[in-house]
């Protein structure tokens, strides 16, 4: 059954979320979002990070209580903010990361937590098996009920999760990045399963950053930006470029103002600092080569999932590579661990400051001097006064607020945490500094400050390599722009030669 083209049609809507709003403090994460799914429809939910997708999903699964708005399923209004009610009424969710007991069998997992019982609370194994077999037959899914889940390939585990949701009579299935961990052939298999579910009248919400997959398997799409639903359309009516344009939005219009007024220094001072040749890692990125010059900022952009982060880790030595060479100042290097790279003057500001970057429970000072502690060593002891003075200098340079080195990093705002993270690496005085999404979750003011820090590093002669998905950011700070598509570095351009629309077109290109 083809999806209804007109989303306003009053025809039997399966799921109808109306006017959903979620406010955190003075931040509106979700702003009067309307979201509908028809029976037998696969609807893509698209938006860049922070667009409000996950907030919407969390409302639909009952994980959070919206500030206002309502959700009806099959015409009946659902009580919000209660996960068990959402499941009972038929909203199932397949999470990005598996949610199963790996040591138990497929059958046990399907009925986890709600085994049908007989007298004395004994599990009614026969009834379980009957019910499960019926489900598998109805949805034409081929699974061995006695296999141990942990030993199944990932795609099969996804199928178990799907069956688990179906066993609960899910009428709507939310799938959050369902193909994140799957190989290409398994993606096709999963898509076949989705089509089957669709033909049985299940409504599916498909959340993915992979535009390819959306164009392959989805009927309709809802595009979100800044907490609002900004477009609903049939997939057939859309092009990739149009989708990305909608995701990026009015930033296109701001391009000229952002880009103007800053001198660009493509290839900086003409000295090659970092040279990457033929870098590959199986299943990640292939044959990546580029030169990075002192005194320039090179931004690598692309869709999420284009493996930019993995590439940066391979250069820094914190994750392996299969082939290729890295040269610093013309000398080949072989970084086996981050310490090797640091000894060669390479710094790396990782993407997730909470997971990989900062010691949240330690003080600002302790975090700032972490990479340079050896410089404060007198015999065996650390020079506390020297550390405090250095920390004060960094705090002043970066204008960290509050300007108190004894504060725990946890107590700082996101923007100031990020400044501490960047500052920790700048203290190293790196020749090459790599930054992965340096302004995610940071307010506008702190963004501008981080940009000026990057420019100051560049003007000092450092080679700056930035990974960013934020095109406005790329157009603002880059001297040159590299575009990565599906694990390959597609092209590198001088920023002055490119408009944002051209960058968008290249990112979306096959």
């Amino acid at each position: 059954m083809p999806a209804a083209a007109n989303v306003n049609a009053s025809a039997a809507q399966l799921l109808d979320a109306h006017g959903l709003t979620k406010v955190y403090g003075n931040l509106v994460a979700l702003d009067h979002a309307d979201f509908r799914v028809m029976p037998g429809e696969v609807r893509a939910l698209i938006g860049s990070n922070g667009a409000g997708k996950s907030t919407l999903i969390k409302v639909l699964t009952g994980a959070i209580m919206p500030t206002s708005g309502s959700v009806t399923l099959d015409g009946a209004e659902l009580p919000l903010g209660r996960p068990e009610e959402m499941i009972r009424h038929g909203i199932g969710c397949i999470y990005q990361h598996s949610n199963m007991a790996p040591a138990l069998s497929v059958l046990d997992n399907i009925f986890l937590g709600r085994q049908p019982t007989r007298r004395f609370g004994l599990v009614d194994v026969k009834a379980q098996r009957r019910e499960a077999e019926e489900l598998l037959k109805r949805y034409c899914i081929d699974l061995d009920l006695d296999a141990t889940v942990g030993e199944l390939p990932t795609v099969k585990q996804k199928e178990v999760e799907i069956v688990k949701a179906l066993a609960l009579d899910a009428k709507v299935l939310l799938m959050d990045e369902p193909t994140g961990w799957l190989a290409a052939s398994d993606v096709r298999r999963l898509h076949d399963t989705i089509r089957l579910l669709k033909s049985r009248g299940v409504g599916i919400v498909y959340i993915s950053h992979m535009l390819d997959e959306i164009f392959t398997v989805c009927d309709t799409m809802t595009i979100m930006r800044d907490g609002r639903v900004i477009a609903e359309a049939d997939v057939a009516d859309m092009t990739r470029a149009k989708v990305i344009e909608l995701m990026v939005g009015d930033r296109l219009a701001r391009e000229s103002s952002a880009a103007a007024g800053e001198a660009r220094h493509p290839r900086g001072n003409g000295e090659i600092r970092l040279s990457v040749k033929g870098l590959s890692r199986r299943g990640m990125f292939r044959d990546v080569s580029f030169d990075l010059y002192g005194g320039e900022i090179l931004c690598i952009t692309g869709l999420i999932g284009s493996k930019r982060t993995e590439l940066m880790h391979a250069i820094f030595g914190s994750e392996p590579r299969d082939a290729g060479t890295v040269e610093i100042d013309g000398k080949p290097v072989d970084f086996r661990a981050p310490g090797d790279a640091m000894a060669c003057g390479v710094g790396f500001v990782p993407e997730d400051r909470h997971r990989d970057g900062l010691m949240l429970g330690m003080t600002v000072t302790e975090n700032l001097v972490m990479t340079t502690l050896d410089r404060f060593r007198r015999l065996f002891l650390l020079d506390r006064r020297g550390i405090e003075a250095a920390s004060r200098r960094s705090i002043d340079d970066l204008s960290v607020k509050p300007a108190d080195g004894r504060k725990l990093v946890r107590q700082l705002s996101g923007g100031n945490q990020q400044k501490v993270l960047v500052g920790k690496w700048l203290r190293l005085g790196p020749k090459v500094i790599i930054l992965d999404e340096p302004t995610v979750g940071v307010d506008v003011g702190a963004k501008a400050e981080i940009y000026s820090i990057l420019r100051a590093e560049r003007d000092r002669g450092a080679a700056v390599l930035v990974v960013s998905s934020d095109l406005e950011e790329v157009m603002t700070v880059a001297d040159r722009i590299g575009i990565m598509v599906s694990g390959r570095l597609r092209s590198i351009h001088d920023t002055t030669d490119m408009s944002m629309a051209q960058v968008v077109a290249e990112i979306g290109a096959e």
Binding site: A29, G361, R377, L381
Partner: protein, 340 residues
């Protein structure tokens, strides 16, 4: 160094328990009682100092009791079976114990074992080794021979602080055992190491967030191995003090003592979730436990009740630790929600 609220809590609790027993337990507030307390619990405090290192790394060392027994047996064999003088036997004993700890660390780093599993295995292995090399079994007549090496037996010395300072004319002071001073020296050396050296910072960093530590260029594996080696060293030191006091050793020396060490560390504010805590806390935690045991005995309360109460104190400490951790996480989540 920041003073943790858990540390303040244990100090206050310590003082309250001290005051309680001084008032209610007969013969508690006497010089000889405090002498017993210091002699009986200083070496456990040393174990607790050592145990704090793995726990700061979000790990645990269950093998300290077995390591202690192995070190004790090595010292016994060297001096009694091979007539090795104490000034040689003592360094060898400490080296063996340090090696035991380093092996734990290496298993955790190289084989990527869970610290619990790795040290549970070595607990069994080290204890088995004790029986295998036991001089008491190999040369039966030695089992009744007391240790006589002057270097080792010299560890069981007491100092009359009162008459040395002339205070004994005013107040009766306990004779302080050498083991107490060794414990204080251990506390100072490792405390400075933890608070004021690069290695100490690395311990907190790795325990707080191992992945971030790795990306900051810290050699995480080496840090872990050294930390477990320190734990082993402390067990060796504890073994020497213990056999000196007993003037012999047995195969079951230190059986279950890992529990006291872990309990003292946790009661002393070393967080089981890693990265938080100091070394003074575990020392106070040890004497708190010791005080409760001795005090309850003096009150005539049965051994079993004492064990129950020890368990309850541990539960309170761990519960408090978890409570603080959950509160930290909630605050963090609230901050994240605000900025997300």
């Amino acid at each position: 160094m920041r003073v943790q609220s858990a540390f303040i809590a244990v100090v206050l609790f310590f003082l309250a328990v001290l005051a309680f027993f001084c008032v209610f337990a007969p013969n508690f507030a006497t010089a000889s009682n405090f002498e017993d307390l210091m002699a009986g619990f200083s070496f456990i405090a040393i174990l607790a100092i050592g145990e704090s290192f793995p726990i700061l790394l979000r790990g645990i060392d269950l093998s300290v009791g077995a390591t202690l027994a192995l070190a004790g047996m090595v010292a016994f064999d060297l001096t009694l079976m091979f007539d090795v003088p104490g000034y040689v036997a003592i360094p060898i004993t400490l080296a063996v114990a340090t090696l035991c700890g380093a092996v734990n660390g290496a298993l955790i780093v190289k084989l990527r074992l869970q610290p619990f599993i790795a040290t549970l295995s070595t607990l069994a292995a080290y204890r088995g080794l004790v029986y295998a090399i036991s001089g008491r079994q190999l040369v039966p007549e030695l089992s009744t021979t007391p240790l006589s090496d002057p270097w080792i037996m010299g560890l069981d010395t007491y100092f009359d602080i009162g008459s040395a300072t002339g205070l004994s004319s005013l107040i009766e002071l306990p004779w302080v055992p050498l083991s107490f001073f060794i414990m204080i020296a251990t506390l100072v050396v490792f405390g400075v190491m933890l608070g004021r050296t690069r290695f100490g910072r690395d311990i907190y960093t790795v325990g707080g967030n191992a992945e971030a530590a790795r990306l900051a260029g810290i050699n995480v594996g080496r840090t872990i191995i050294i930390a477990y080696a320190i734990c082993g060293f402390c067990a060796g030191l504890g073994a020497l003090l213990m056999i000196a006091r007993l003037s012999t050793t047995t195969e079951s020396l230190g059986m279950g003592m890992e529990m006291s060490a872990i309990a003292a560390a946790v009661i002393g504010g070393v967080s089981l979730s890693g990265g938080i805590g100091g070394l003074a806390g575990p020392v106070i935690g040890t004497f708190l436990l010791g005080m409760v045991l001795i005090g309850l005995t003096l009150l005539g309360i049965s051994q079993f009740v004492q064990q129950i109460l020890t368990g309850v104190i541990l539960l309170i400490a761990v519960g408090h630790d978890r409570f603080l951790a959950v509160r930290r996480q909630k605050r963090l989540a609230a901050n994240l929600a605000e900025e997300a």
